[in-house]
């Protein structure tokens, strides 16, 4: 029996309107992602990958259709409910790390930790991402890979059931990118963290349980991989 989906998109469309122009970013998309899945969304620029991530993350609302997360239709949420949803259920990892430059690595993690009642211990997270010694360094003093690891620690500190990663390796060299992917893979395998990763790098698909290919706002193909490959075997 197929497990109950943690994330479900039902007939989701997203249309951006500006003046007289209309851009259909997503067109009647149906998708299911189960608990503990490592899902990778692939596609060229402008195909709607980030829009899909934004809708799942409660950063945007669909023009039509429903986004159901943990059996709740978040597309009907108001501003306050969406804020609470993002706070408790979603962890974001961005392509450009988005660390606050005037806060140290530890403080950047605290920034998210302050929002929840029972955050993960920050020292434990810093150890997990291998940055305990660099905890009091400002982002400007950290390498790109280290910054991204801080960003991952920040995303995990609120114990979110879903981790949304938007091109997390896009600004990193391949060796550092692999280290980040390894970290995410470990989180998924050892802690059962549900991860949705958006990328245009097809090589990453090899490590995913579920690969969704998007084209022109529609799902072109969906592939489930019963035995995904290891990060070390990836090449790009």
């Amino acid at each position: 029996m197929k497990p109950h989906p943690l994330i479900e998109l039902r007939e989701v469309s997203k249309i951006y309107r500006r003046d007289r122009f209309e851009v259909r970013a997503l067109n009647r998309v149906n998708l299911q992602i189960t608990q503990g899945e490592f899902a990778v969304v692939l596609g060229p620029s402008g195909c709607g990958k980030s829009t899909m991530l934004n809708l799942i993350g409660g950063l945007d609302t669909p023009t039509s259709g429903s986004v159901i997360v943990d059996s709740e239709d978040i597309s009907r949420y108001n501003e306050a409910q969406l804020s609470a949803y993002r706070r408790h259920k979603i962890g974001f990892v961005f392509q450009f790390f988005n660390l606050v430059p005037t806060l140290t690595a530890r403080e950047n993690i605290e920034l998210a930790a302050e929002l929840v009642a029972n955050p993960r211990p920050i020292d434990e997270l810093l150890h997990a991402v291998g940055l305990y010694e660099r905890a009091n360094h400002f982002p400007g003093e950290l390498s790109g890979g280290e910054q991204q690891r801080v960003a991952i620690a920040r995303a995990l500190v609120t114990r979110p059931p879903i981790l949304l990663c938007d091109e997390p390796t896009g600004e990193l060299d391949s060796a550092t990118g692999k280290r980040i992917l390894k970290l995410l893979h470990t989180l998924n395998r050892q802690e059962g963290q549900t991860i949705v990763l958006v990328t245009h790098n097809a090589a990453i698909a090899a490590m995913a349980d579920h690969v969704i290919r998007l084209r022109d706002g529609q799902i072109e193909s969906e592939v489930y991989s019963p035995q995904p490959g290891e990060v070390e075997s990836l090449e790009w």
């Binding site: 993350g57 950063l59 974001f92 450009f96 606050v100 806060l103 605290e110 998210a112 929002l115 938007d166």
Partner: protein, 407 residues
């Protein structure tokens, strides 16, 4: 509410631009300080001259007649509502001062009842002695004119009346609530103590010189509290009708009082305008700075929203950055106002030490020049209004590619 980490962020970001935020706080402090000082100065000045006018019985109105017997004053004093009345013989005369190279100037010779305290417009003796009764050819000279021309008691002044020269000895220097500003008439804008002197002489002597013995040509009246001044003035005018009275001149139209009130009004206006100038500039600067900060931190705003901070929390965070210099400047301004106010305790000086010292004795030329320039500058300045603007950044910005520049 803004969390502890965000406060740390505010602190560090403000420290990075500490000179700018410091300048804004200083502007706010100046505005608050000026407002506090100027308003209390106005309040004290108003209180001071109101109380002093009451103490020295400034007239409520005066009536000029062609000529009336001095005994008519007794009848006026008996009228209901009249607290006090004085009859005077007032003449505008030419005067000569100095013995070697005498200078000819204009003067006002006021004949008063000597030897008894005046009921209206009481004089304050600054130096010398009061007038004695009888045919004493002595005068009390208004002190600002005396100081300007370096005249002292025992010096002499020659009064010219219809070709006759009458020599007076200065008995004392006085100040009068009627001549806080020494001006000839209401048409004059600036005091003219350099060319116009006010002298008080015995009524009998002035009458003898002018050929109006036992006569007066002016009545000054103080009205009892609770009585209508206009009605009392009409009564007095009616009583004097046979002596060809002019329309009563109420206190508000009395030249010196009018000028003083105008000055007080200007001070009151400036007490708002000066602070507005500083506060307006600081608001505009802060507004510009905050707009720049918001534009620079669009990604941070998007990140905060993505992490789960509510719109109100994000707004509160950025408003806090604006409120901090405002609050610091406000506290500093109040503190500075207390310090400077303590060094300028107008109310405790009292009327005579305050009002006249400001306008004459201690009014240093440098300060006067600065104030004059400020006045000129402020004439061209009007209200500046800052407006608040919301931070309408969409939460998606954090996730979007910076190069897109769509947020």
């Amino acid at each position: 509410m803004v969390g502890g980490v965000l406060w740390r962020k505010i602190r560090r970001e403000m420290w990075q631009t500490r000179w700018l935020y410091g300048a804004i706080a200083a502007m706010v402090a100046l505005g608050v300080m000026l407002f506090a000082i100027a308003s209390s100065l106005y309040r004290d000045m108003h209180l001071s001259y109101t109380e002093s006018f009451a103490r020295y019985c400034l007239e409520d109105f005066g009536v000029q007649v062609r000529s009336a017997p001095r005994t008519v004053v007794v009848r006026i004093r008996r009228l209901p509502g009249v607290a006090g009345a004085e009859g005077r013989l007032v003449k505008t005369v030419a005067i000569e001062i100095g013995s070697q190279n005498p200078r000819r100037l204009m003067g006002r010779l006021i004949g008063i009842e000597p030897g008894q305290p005046l009921q209206v417009n009481q004089l304050r003796l600054m130096e010398g002695r009061f007038l004695r009764g009888g045919r004493d050819y002595a005068i009390l000279l208004e002190s600002k004119f005396a100081r300007y021309h370096r005249l002292r008691p025992h010096d002499t002044i020659t009064v010219l009346w219809h070709g006759e020269r009458v020599r007076f000895t200065i008995a004392g220097l006085v100040r009068s609530p009627e001549y806080i500003y020494v001006i000839q008439s209401k048409q004059q804008v600036l005091p003219s103590e350099d060319v116009f002197g006010v002298m008080f002489a015995p009524l009998e002597v002035v009458g003898e010189i002018t050929g109006q013995s036992e006569q007066i040509n002016e009545v000054r009246v103080v009205v009892k509290p609770g009585f209508n001044r206009e009605l009392v003035a009409r009564e007095v005018e009616h009583l004097l009708r046979v002596y060809d009275p002019e329309k009563p001149v109420m206190r508000e139209d009395q030249p010196s009082y009018f000028l003083l009130e105008s000055s007080a009004r200007i001070l009151r206006t400036y007490s708002v305008l000066f602070p507005m100038l500083f506060l307006g500039v600081s608001v505009l600067t802060l507004y510009t700075l905050q707009m720049r900060v918001v534009l620079q931190q669009r990604a941070v705003i998007g990140l905060l929203r993505a992490l789960g901070y509510t719109r109100r929390q994000v707004l509160g965070h950025y408003l806090s950055m604006a409120l901090v210099p405002g609050f610091v400047g406000g506290v500093l301004g109040v503190g500075l106002a207390r310090v400077f106010r303590a060094g300028f305790p107008v109310a405790t000086w009292g009327f005579w030490r305050c009002l006249w010292s400001v306008w004459s004795r201690r009014w240093c030329p440098l300060w006067e020049g600065c104030c004059w320039r400020w006045e000129r500058l402020l004439q061209g300045v009007c209200y500046l209004r800052g407006r608040r603007r919301a931070f309408p950044l969409h939460r998606l910005c954090a996730l979007r590619h910076r190069r897109w520049g769509v947020c």
